[in-house]
């Protein structure tokens, strides 16, 4: 039936695209599992891998610390002012501190940090890994007796997770200080009230969920770019931008998915 040929071709192409999409998720899941197991294996850590972890933390967290701190401080200050003013206007001034801390520390700052690290370091990692595959550098490393997974990829995941945790902690601590100042002003006599509100917000389930979310963000911003880079075909340089594009889109969806799941677990 010659009339059916275009339809069959279209369906075949569509099916192939769907399979490629599913293969991408499968390789992401597999790499995430391997990364977690390797990260928890003491044998992974030697002089070389520790150096890569240190470099990753330097480039992902330390190098951007001043800019990121300034940016998160300005954003936190503006959002806290909006929440505090709105709460006062609607007669909920007593809830202003709790609302601003819940919005910023539990929701916005962890997501913002993950997006910041993902856009900056995740894109760079994706490009570098794709270029490594294209130029056959992984095979060259393996031929030298250096396991590329343990030397290049696992340390990046560990460094990335530590960086996201550290940057989130810095931004959150700064937001707490700014929230205190915005609500109580420049004095220390309201620390007891402040601590009571913090105790209400940061109960054990909330802290556990926050830790789990930030860890998931940290894993996502490194595991997705690496697994997407590894999927690049050897010797095809034109594929590198496609790999980065796919990696960043997948990263965005995963970050949003983690955020939505955390919101569901917390509020529904």
């Amino acid at each position: 039936m010659p009339d059916m040929d275009p339809i069959i071709d279209a369906l075949t192409r569509r099916g192939a695209a769907q399979l490629a999409w599913l293969r991408g998720w499968r390789s992401f899941g597999r790499f995430a599992a391997v990364a977690i197991i390797e990260a928890l294996t003491p044998a992974t850590y030697n002089s070389a891998t520790r150096s890569v972890v240190q470099k990753q933390i330097y480039f992902t967290a330390w190098q951007i610390l001043p800019t990121f701190t300034l940016f998160s401080a300005v954003l936190s200050f503006v959002l806290i002012q909006i929440v505090v003013d709105a709460a006062r206007n609607y007669g909920f001034a007593q809830h202003a501190l709790e609302a601003s801390v819940r919005i910023l520390v539990l929701e916005i700052l962890p997501l913002l940090t993950a997006l910041f690290v993902g856009l900056r370091s995740g894109a760079a990692i994706n490009t570098e890994v794709a270029l490594m595959v294209v130029h056959n550098e992984m095979k060259a490393l393996a031929d030298s007796g250096v396991d590329p997974m343990r030397f290049e990829f696992i340390p990046r995941v560990i460094g990335g997770v530590i960086s996201v945790l550290a940057l989130t902690a810095v931004a959150s601590a700064l937001a707490l200080v700014l929230a205190y100042i915005a609500v109580y002003g420049f004095q220390i006599w309201s620390l007891t009230d402040f601590n009571r509100v913090m105790g209400n917000i940061f109960d054990i389930p909330a802290i556990a969920l926050l830790w789990a979310k930030v860890l998931a963000f940290g894993l996502a911003v490194t595991v997705i770019p690496i697994s997407e880079g590894l999927a690049a075909p050897p010797a095809k340089l034109f594929f590198v931008p496609i790999s980065v594009l796919r990696g960043m889109v997948r990263l965005f969806f995963v970050l949003m998915l983690v955020e939505v799941i955390s919101l569901v677990l917390k509020y529904i």
């Binding site: 030697n46 002089s47 070389a48 891998t49 150096s51 570098e128 270029l131 490594m132 130029h135 056959n136 550098e137 095979k139 060259a140 490393l141 031929d143 030298s144 007796g145 250096v146 396991d147 030397f151």
Partner: protein, 132 residues
Amino acid sequence: MQESEISLISEELPLRANLSVLENVAIVPQYRLNMAYDQAADQAWSLLVELNRTECAFKRDPDLTSEERFIAKLLRAVIRSPSIIIIDRPALLLPDTHYPPFVEATLAALDDKLNECWIVDYTWNEPLYAPR
């Protein structure tokens, strides 16, 4: 023979692009023997000194001449002390060099560090090599 006992020097096995020559060589003992970076770098440096090529120690792959790149790949293999080093088609690695004497002189300088070295080349290049 196990594959780990053989090191291949080939155009198809590049240096790690984001590492300098010194780091590319030092990473092998640093990773395989859990050697501290300073100690591994000293070992790599001493190999570069033996070949009088210390000027390329801190260069990365795109800044290297083909001779320097060949030296870096060779030292990355030598520092691992494999049973056999195979140099795959040296003409591809050293396109602008009269390579048989260059390769011979380089291997002679590292003679005490090499177990066995095989050069794989096309039969039509046989006249380029000294008769054995």
